[in-house]
């Protein structure tokens, strides 16, 4: 016999159990839903960053010229990753085709263009053991890639090579330094792009301002004589100020803040990668940057960001601009000025009488996992030699003579300036943590946006603490 209460209790228990199950199921469903959405979120992030997963992989189409009687050998495929796109990629492809034709079937360079999110895609490729054999890497990334074991140590290959021009000692010291880690060579630099001063002489004429004195080679701003104070005084002679049409100078965050620090003998990290931002010299450098920004010689920062740093110069509104020697203002469309109005000079000298021009440089590096390092190095050398006849400026001593025919028109006048700038040019001391220190976000942007209230000593102390925290982690 069933007891009615017992039955009811059982039903209630079952119902409770069902409720409990429902709750558990509900929670599981929510977890799955949220996790799916989260994965969707990663996908979204990747959508942005891997829009170019189908990045053009342009294969060298030119067949290598094998002699009929040569033994049939399959050319070693050397994948070459670079950030170039458009016209630059076409030019690169032409160089690769030339090198392939001259390789006598030993190797064949396969060009892989990654025009955006370069470092992110490279990192992912390295992580998946699928990175190219040869890779373009800018100076600020080489230390990190080498330290993390992604790059092949080419010291011996370089020293044993018969290509004298590519030996370490033929490069400018500050430039080859960027391709080294722990005293070992990890890349061959192929470009130097020191910051120089471009002048719009028509504005100097318009306001009756004299250009700084040129040295015997015609380089405007003689080393050791023309200082940052002279520069500020000169720039102040132009209208400047709110609503002015013409300005003495322009910055929108370029040149990098390191240049002001170097001018006063300071830096972010020293050569041993210790923080030196809080030294009196670095603080003086920050004060120099602040003085320039508050002197009114540059349009306000939002105007520069909106109208464009180079564009304002090309529009004839700016008397002086510090930009890379390879920035081809001469080839771009201009308003209110002509190509003949451009003159060239070096940046002002620092307290030690030297220019301390910032240099952007990049190297070709080799993947640590490349299957045939000797062949890859051969290809690297062949390509680098071609780059020297392609890019302003080859980073080797006397390299500018290799591109004489490229310096057409007014750019010819810039040659002595580039030579002078190259002597003192340098990059930062790029540690793996440099990106995380984020000089732009933690130092330069606050200075640009809140110039008046910017306290150099306080900011230096704050950044010093942050850098030490990162370096000691």
């Amino acid at each position: 016999m069933y007891n009615a209460d017992k039955v009811t209790n059982k039903i209630v228990k079952l119902q409770n159990k069902e409720e409990g199950m429902k709750k558990i199921l509900g929670i599981i469903l929510i977890i799955i839903m949220v996790s799916s959405l989260m994965i969707g979120c990663t996908k979204d992030a990747e959508e942005k960053t891997t829009d170019n997963d189908n990045t053009p992989v342009v294969e060298a189409v030119e067949e290598t010229t094998e002699k009929d009687d040569a033994p049939k050998m399959e050319a070693v495929e050397i994948r070459f990753a670079l950030w170039a796109g458009g016209k630059e990629l076409d030019e690169f492809q032409a160089i690769a085709d030339e090198v392939n034709a001259e390789a006598n079937g030993e190797y064949k360079i396969i060009v892989e263009s990654i025009p955006d999110n370069y470092i992110q895609k490279l990192s992912t490729q390295f992580s998946g053991k699928n990175a190219a054999d040869l890779i373009w890497l800018s100076q600020d990334n080489i230390y990190a890639f080498a330290e993390l074991g992604a790059l092949y140590d080419i010291t011996d290959l370089n020293q044993n090579s018969s290509t004298e021009i590519l030996k370490e000692e033929n490069f400018f010291t500050n430039i080859i330094k960027t391709a080294k880690y722990d005293n070992k060579l990890f890349g061959i630099p192929w470009i130097a792009n020191p910051v120089i001063m471009y002048y719009n002489t028509s504005l100097f004429d318009k306001y009756g301002v004299d250009l700084p004195k040129a040295d015997k080679d015609g380089v405007i701003g003689t080393e050791g004589e023309w200082t940052w104070d002279d520069f500020i005084a000169l720039a102040k002679q132009f209208p400047n100020g709110d609503g002015a049409e013409d300005y003495g100078w322009i910055t929108g965050g370029w040149p990098p803040i390191e240049m002001y620090l170097w001018a006063e003998g300071g830096d972010i990290l020293d050569e041993n990668y210790k923080s030196v931002i809080n030294t009196p010299e670095s603080i003086k450098g920050l004060e120099l940057a602040k003085e320039i920004l508050t002197s009114g010689i540059t349009p306000d920062i939002s105007t520069v960001w909106d109208q464009g740093f180079s564009e304002m110069f090309l529009n004839g509104q700016i008397a002086m601009i510090m930009a890379g020697a390879a920035d081809d203002f001469e080839l771009r469309e201009m308003n209110n000025m002509t190509v003949d109005d451009i003159a060239y000079g070096v940046v002002p000298s620092g307290v030690d009488g030297k220019y301390h021009s910032f240099n952007w440089t990049a190297s070709t590096v080799m993947n640590a996992d490349t299957e045939n390092p000797e062949m890859a190095y051969k290809a690297m050398e062949a390509m680098t030699l071609k780059f020297f006849g392609w890019k302003v400026t080859p980073p080797i001593k006397g390299g500018i003579d290799l591109i004489d025919e490229m310096l057409e028109g007014t750019k010819v006048i810039s040659k002595p300036t580039i030579v002078a700038a190259l002597a003192d040019t340098r990059g930062g001391n790029y540690h793996t943590a440099y990106a995380e220190i984020d000089i732009w976000r933690n130092l330069f942007e606050p200075l640009l946006l809140e110039t008046d209230s910017f306290d150099s000593a306080e900011m230096a102390q704050k950044l010093d603490d942050e850098i030490n925290k990162i370096l000691n982690r």
Binding site: G26, L37, A45, G149
Partner: protein, 284 residues
């Protein structure tokens, strides 16, 4: 004889998909979060050190604050504005389908394109917004260049992009039986009475859905934030910080730990809303 595995066989494509593309990556991510993995080199097991570091990392709190502040404002503003737009577009007016298409368009545009367009729209000197403000004698702010105006800029973008939510509200509104409104009209109910006593209560399941989706979307904001940025740290959303740690700072282990913390935050909020929905959601 009936095959007792038949049901599992039918759902196996989904099951395999979930196991391969959700469960496995999650388990692997859980492992990565316990390592020091610079992405380029090999990983090293460090236990809970990444999680410990997260709670002493000011960048974490700063980016979480930026994101939470955005979520707190963008989600309700987005829900209210898209609901009002849906109500308006539910009226039988001429050419309403054109309006619906126009308002839905932002939902199908790529995030990158949206970001680029908005950078231009918000340009203080030649942007459309400041130009229109200029017509009425107002000098527009430096939207993305002034830290105080970065959040309002992102709210504008969020409202503009609420097209997909409008669509779900319209579908919900169409689903409400006309008889209910007719009965209410006979009983003397006006527009607001009908709105508050019929429309909104019956729309709560859709509101619930959009609330959860809105919160998830707000916390995982990345594409436009990464491209548009914003002065100071005001445009540095949680996902941007996570991405930078993974791919710029070579700290994939730490970034994955950040992803797990974000997962817990979103899961907690979702459970909280789910629990509270019994009190305010029709049929909840």
């Amino acid at each position: 004889m009936r095959d007792k595995w038949a049901g599992y066989k039918f759902i196996s494509p989904w099951l395999i998909g979930v196991l391969l593309f959700t469960a496995f990556p999650m388990i692997f991510a859980a492992y990565i979060s316990l390592t020091d993995w610079p992405i380029l080199g090999s990983s090293r097991f460090i236990g809970l050190a990444n999680f410990k570091e997260i709670f002493t990392d000011k960048e974490f709190y700063q980016s979480l604050m930026v994101t939470a502040r955005y979520a707190v404002l963008a989600v309700p503003i987005g829900i209210i504005s898209s609901f009002i737009m849906a109500l308006l577009m539910n009226f039988k007016i001429k050419g309403v389908s054109i309006y619906r298409t126009i308002y839905y368009l932002p939902a199908v545009v790529s995030g990158v394109a949206v970001a680029v367009i908005w950078r231009w729209i918000l340009n203080p000197n030649y942007g459309v917004v400041n130009m229109m403000l200029g017509w009425i004698g107002v000098q527009g702010p430096n939207w993305l260049g002034d830290p105080n105006w970065v959040l309002p800029s992102y709210l504008l973008i969020a409202i503009w992009g609420s097209g997909s939510a409008i669509l779900t509200y319209i579908v919900g509104l169409k689903d409400i039986s006309n008889e209910l409104y007719e009965a209410a009209t006979i009983d003397g109910a006006g527009f607001f009475k009908k709105l508050t006593k019929i429309t909104i209560p019956l729309m709560t399941p859709i509101l619930y859905y959009n609330l959860i989706m809105g919160i998830v979307a707000a916390f995982r904001k990345f594409t436009d934030a990464y491209i548009i940025g914003g002065a100071g740290n005001e445009g540095r959303f949680y996902m941007v910080n996570l991405y930078e740690n993974a791919f710029s700072y070579y700290r994939m282990g730490y970034a994955t730990a950040l992803a797990w913390v974000l997962f817990i935050i979103i899961l907690s909020l979702t459970l909280l809303i789910n629990k509270s929905s019994k009190k305010w959601m029709y049929g909840g």
